[in-house]
């Protein structure tokens, strides 16, 4: 394969070897060197839109975008110098010139790439004055809130929808100052035009696209994030449960997940309401005639142990069995398997893997 051979490069004085055809951005990331960018997402093809990732390459007379420039042997790269810093400040100032800059009430505060860069480069929205978008919030669907005023036109939502999901829900609509990501004919999102996978939300670097259900339920930095594996289908996607005050309030992408790299479907990203649903069975229940009454764990477990022991005594140990489930954990399945063989002393144990 071409480009398979090892290349040696230097970033900010550090010697790095690249094993395959990589961009400067990828090589830097692998070495733990951060280059700022707003339009890049590892799940997408390199785009080169925001120009924030420009770097100095020795022997090249102009800055080069790290996200679209492949490394070459013996390349010497500086990720920042005074010129590049100035250019980055300019770009951020321009973005902020048409941005609400209402961070104090914005859902994305604390988790916003634009806010982070403005802080890092000490820029506010006062430098350039010009026309500003004043468009209404769009949330006429169950899951996705769109605040077009906060869009920086990086195109990530459009690209993930078309490149990765191939759903074709949104595209850049309009021209010049009026162009913005939107659905065909600017119709509300519905199952006719959208899968509600929320991939667009997961890639948006600003507060333009947010999870509707989690709005106002806590800032990113207030959440305890717990990495786990989805409990729906057998693909094995990882994600982070966002917990605040003992409640799961949101699911966010785990971008380094081995199976799904931050990608999720409607059920994985938005199907968590059942956890705190009022219908959850909260105590053991024992049948009395046609109805059930609440019981303590001890009452229920004593009753179960007694009844199963009684059945085994009366009808023999082959008269009882257990069903386990492909919904349960490996550890639980192992224990059910062990329970049948050590307590029921038979092999009457099965699971719904067959149905």
């Amino acid at each position: 394969m071409p480009g398979k051979k090892i290349k040696k490069i230097e970033i900010d004085g550090r010697k790095i070897s690249c094993e395959k055809e990589e961009t400067i951005l990828q090589a830097a990331k692998k070495a733990g060197i951060e280059i700022p960018t707003l339009c890049h997402d590892d799940r997408l093809e390199p785009y080169g839109g925001c120009r924030l990732c420009i770097v100095e390459v020795k022997g090249v007379g102009r800055p080069l975008p790290a996200c679209t420039t492949p490394v070459t042997n013996n390349m010497e790269i500086r990720t920042e110098n005074d010129t590049i810093k100035r250019i980055r400040k300019n770009i951020i100032s321009l973005l902020l010139s048409n941005h609400p800059n209402d961070c104090m009430r914005c859902e994305k505060t604390g988790d916003c790439a634009l806010q982070g860069l403005a802080y890092r480069y000490d820029v506010d929205g006062s430098r350039f004055e010009g026309e500003q978008w004043d468009l209404p919030i769009r949330d006429d669907n169950p899951f996705i809130t769109y605040e077009p005023n906060k869009c920086i036109l990086c195109g990530r939502c459009v690209r993930i929808c078309n490149e990765v999901v191939m759903a074709g829900t949104i595209d850049l609509v309009g021209r010049g100052f009026n162009s913005m990501p939107d659905t065909a004919f600017r119709k509300p999102r519905s199952l006719d035009n959208c899968e509600f996978c929320g991939q667009c939300v997961s890639t948006c670097p600003t507060g333009a696209l947010t999870d509707k259900k989690a709005r106002g339920r806590g800032r990113a930095y207030e959440m305890k994030k717990v990495r786990t594996t989805c409990s729906y289908c057998g693909t094995g996607c990882n994600f982070d449960l966002n917990v605040k005050d003992g409640k799961v309030v949101k699911v966010t992408s785990a971008y380094d997940a081995p199976v799904n790299h931050g990608n999720l479907c409607i059920k994985g990203r938005y199907g968590y309401d059942f956890i705190h649903n009022a219908d959850r069975i909260k105590t053991p229940l024992i049948r009395k005639g046609d109805s059930f009454h609440e019981a303590t764990w001890d009452e229920a477990l004593d009753l179960i142990a007694g009844r199963f022991s009684g059945l085994m005594k009366k009808y023999g140990n082959k008269s009882v069995g257990a069903f386990s489930s492909s919904r349960c954990t490996n550890e639980e399945n192992f224990l059910v398997s062990k329970f049948a063989r050590t307590v029921f002393k038979n092999n009457n144990v099965d699971n719904c893997a067959r149905v």
Binding site: P258, I281, P284, S309, N347, C352, A353
Partner: protein, 537 residues
Amino acid sequence: MAGLATSLGAGAATNSLAQMPDIDALFLFGSNPTEAHPIVSLYLKKALQNGARLIVGDPRKTWMAKRADVWLNLCPGSNIALLNGMVNVILKEGWQNKEFIKKRTEGFGELKKKVREYDLKKVEKLTDVPKEKIIEAARLYSHADKAMIVYGLGVTEHRTGTENAMAIANLALVCGHLGRPSTGIMALRGQNNVQGASDLGPLPATFPGYQSVTDSEARERFEKAWGVPMSPEIGLKSVEMLELACEGKFKGIFILGEDPAQTDPDVHEVRKALSSLEFLVVQDIFHTETTKYAHVILPGASFAEKDGTFTNGERRVQRIRKAIEPIAGKAEWQVICELATRMGYPMSYNHPSDIMDEIASLTPIYGGISYERLEKESIQWPCPAKDHPGTTTLYTDLFSRPGGLAKFMALDHKGSGEVPDKEYPYVLITGRIREHYNNGSMTRRVKGIMELVSEELLEINPEDAKKLKIKNGDKVKVSSRRGNIKVKVKVTGRSQPHNVFLTFHFPEALSNLLTSGHKDPITGTPEYKSCAVKIEK
């Protein structure tokens, strides 16, 4: 999974999902990943963007079928005929991998003899697929360098489900398309931990790790670890327990996290069995159709409330982590321990990681897996030792059968247990939609999802709709020999003429009142994918 186990050795997917983008030819069979496995479909979409050729075997015009190079829209239940036909073409044209067949397989003679009976004229008649398409599919698949068969429940949920999987293995083996990266057979599993539930042995014939209960050495190992004698007698499958219960010969069942009264086919019989039991315990997170029959209901803990592991469809063992305390106070593993202890067999663990250590000590395929390792990596089994990296591609040099050879299975077309006739002229196919999941107990409690899809819809072809004089949104009665339900209609080209489609997500319109009692004799898997129905306004 018994099919792949018989042919190749292990009932598991042979490759990794991450290898999918490099596939040259993809044969997607009885699987609708854009709906049922959306994140797997992202890998497959990447493969298509990279130029993979696509063959789809499916009676429904799915997202993938629309984009296929060859769409084999076979009539439901004719999988074996189609696959035999493809193998026949490959052998006739000399497209097989002779060296692979000679070195790594056995039973080729019988297969060759059998598939000779499946000339394309006969196959065309049995499957309704034009022979040109079968030849083209066989050519694309056999000629590719890296070719993968991805199959779903459309293959296994037939009365010939096990044999269907064997027929798939036959096709892959004839072409030598196994044991290499991006080349193999991937079975997509319907539920999060189907693989793990099979691996860890809540099965009547095997201990954890597929060790047979009839093998005295295996029994000895477990007797030594667990300190009590192990029964050498193969136990009863769930369907057998229920059948005996109907006859009054089976008395008590503990059901953990299952809803057979809604999700099993022919639910009438299941409900009769459950109500015949003297004692039924059901542990679940919500009330289900099955809890109605329980004598004691125990609350379950959701995946957010406990530590543990799931094993995904590519044999990858991954952690789930406790984010909140169990809402009812206890997780299932604690309940099982307490119950066993009460019944005279003391069982206790400090943490699920201790259970995993016991699993590793008794289950060679999980031998090298521990929570400590899972903090840093996820591991695909077989992983026999602490320093083993796990296995991304199975069968790179040997199959896990005696002698290391894969086995060809000579198979006959049997068709569906119930075929359409004058009275019940339509074939009902059941399956999933993207927004909902199984019995719906989780997704129907997500408000936004219910706003999007609030009820069952019968998918019917425009031609049939015209014939029946029904249109979008009309309410119809769908009946089979076992029952009837009333549902609204969605007219769509996704269903082919004479086929209709329902999900099984809604208890108000329970499609499993209609499905037949036919099942695979080897695994007991029901024939969800095909039964005969009639439709009335």
